[in-house]
Amino acid sequence: MRSPAARAKRFAKASGHAGLLVFFVTFLAFPFYWMLMTTFKTTIDLHDVTKNPFLFNEPPTLEHLKVLFEDTQYLQWLINTGAVGLAVVAITLVLAVPAGYALARMTGAWAQTLGIAIFLTYLVPPTILFIPFSRIIATLGLQDSLWSLVLVYPSFTVPFCTWLLMGFFKAIPRDLEDAAMIDGLSRFGAFVKVVMPVSLAGLLTVVIFAFTLVTQEFVYGVTFITAASSYTVSVGVPTFLVRGDVYFWGSMMAACLIASVPIAIIYNFFVDRFVAGFTVGAVK
């Protein structure tokens, strides 16, 4: 039997733990909960400060969603984001997969250094490069074109994904390819026929990350594109829907929620691999 004192201590510990989690979940997830509430509240309800804003004082409505999809170009922005995302993912895979494999299997100290150097270019932020890029894009005649984003976004997806892939390929035992090569495959053949099939999880991770990075990007989008029909979601909602004095909060919150949550759920499955990439072996 446990003594009452020990039980009380355990209870205090458990409730302290729960309290901490409640505090952090409230702080971190509240804006999304608030988006959800706002999406389904009537405009009159949203603008009535005398009633409790945490409750539905009027029945929920789908009006804001209707406005968002019928009266704004939101759907077009979703399509644009998806299209740019797919193109960037394709370019990223073509460039990063071979590079990651080469870095994983090359011998010599400079392979590691080169890997880190590539990773560090990921840290050069768009906020340094967007000014020269604005002129480069203008010179190429790609202003207001989604192709400008397809061209520029791999500049940050490729470094990060090469680095992640290098880690994944290193974890695959060399014996696997050696055996295949003794059986007559070339190194490249072994890479394509033996290594790639067992790296599908790693490749999928890279696809997810490249895609998320594209959906999150804002600086280049707002610099290169001024035509509303060519916006991506992350640029269109804050620049186009916020313009003017009238804020359609219901539709705006719906727009944020729809673009954020599905990605977050998918991303959640892969986050551990992502963290492994960030920690560069500082964790053993």
Partner: protein
């Protein structure tokens, strides 16, 4: 006894590998070249172009540009808003990292214990990092709204604010800075937490057991065992957080556009308003280059950490 056939096969494979080693060097180069070329063209080239712009007189409309030395830098630092932006960038970055350091360590420890529904709690906690920052910031724009702010409503309902107190979060310089810092903390904490959590779970259980056997109490255990072992990984988390806040344009752009009266400008937003909206590309490039020294410093620390991880 060894089969003669097998020995021959091994010998043959050695020779085969020797021949291949030479070919492989070319294969590696061929596989690396496209990625490196892309990075050089789309990161290296614009970066040097940015350096060149900052010593030229280039504007959005001009066809030609002339070398003018440090003229743009002088123009930039003569502007008082630049100094406000530099100060704000440093304040936001440092204050944010201090809070992140505390919050992420506490939260990571709370998450290192198993409990029911953990995956869902983790999903909720990760949302701010995973959702596009521009959209999350709009959520905060609504929370900070001058008329319908839910913070003010709740604070009044809980009698924290008097019936006539109604702070305009984004309308007063100090409150606007605080609002920006809150959003930065909000989006960096999840990343720092998962990084530190990875460090926590990598500490071998025997170390904890040994400390327990030696009779270390909770605080002693925390300060003499857990924190020192977590130090390198915490440093990584803080470094990434520092880079992401230091170079960020989005939060300020969405929340305040640098206002009221340019009091919340940061380097990135000031570079944007000078270079893109103001058309002074040279000035904008000069402002944005002030972001670079911090990146170099972080890169150096990062390289040292990576090297140490390699040795041990």
């Amino acid at each position: 006894m060894r089969q003669p056939g097998a020995a021959a096969k091994i010998a043959a494979s050695r020779g085969f590998r020797g021949r291949l080693a030479d070919n492989e060097r070319w294969l590696w180069r061929l596989m690396l070249a496209p990625a490196i070329l892309y990075i050089v063209l789309l990161v290296g080239f614009p970066f040097f172009l940015s350096l060149y712009y900052s010593v030229s007189d280039v504007t959005v409309g001009s066809r030609e540009m002339n070398f003018v030395g440090l003229e743009s830098f002088r123009r930039v630092i003569d502007n008082r808003t630049f100094w406000t932006a530099l100060k704000n960038t440093l304040i936001i970055t440092i204050v944010t990292q201090i809070f992140v350091l505390f919050f992420a360590n506490i939260l990571a420890m709370a998450l290192s214990v198993d409990f029911r529904g953990k995956w869902f709690v983790r999903l909720l906690i990760l949302l701010p990092w995973v959702a596009p920052i521009s959209l999350g910031s709009i959520g905060w724009l609504w929370i900070y709204d001058s008329i319908y702010s839910i913070i003010n409503w709740t604070a009044q309902a809980l009698r924290i604010l008097g019936p006539n107190d109604w702070p305009i979060w984004l309308g007063q310089p100090n409150l606007a800075m605080a609002s920006i810092i809150i959003v930065q903390i909000w989006r960096i904490v999840p990343l720092a937490t998962v990084i530190i959590l990875a460090g926590l779970t990598s500490i071998p259980q025997d170390i904890h057991d040994a400390a327990q056997v030696d009779g270390a109490g909770f605080w002693r255990h925390l300060f003499q065992i857990t924190f020192p072992l977590l130090l390198p990984i915490t440093l990584v988390a803080v470094l990434f957080g520092a880079i992401f806040t230091f170079t960020d344009l989005i939060v300020v752009f969405v929340l305040t556009r640098g206002g009221p009266y340019d009091t919340t400008q940061v380097l990135a937003s000031w570079a944007f308003f000078t270079g893109i909206q103001g058309g002074d590309l040279a000035g904008g490039a000069a402002v944005s280059l002030f972001l670079f020294p911090v990146l170099v410093a972080v890169a150096i620390v990062f390289l040292r950490l990576a090297r140490r991880a390699e040795v041990t």
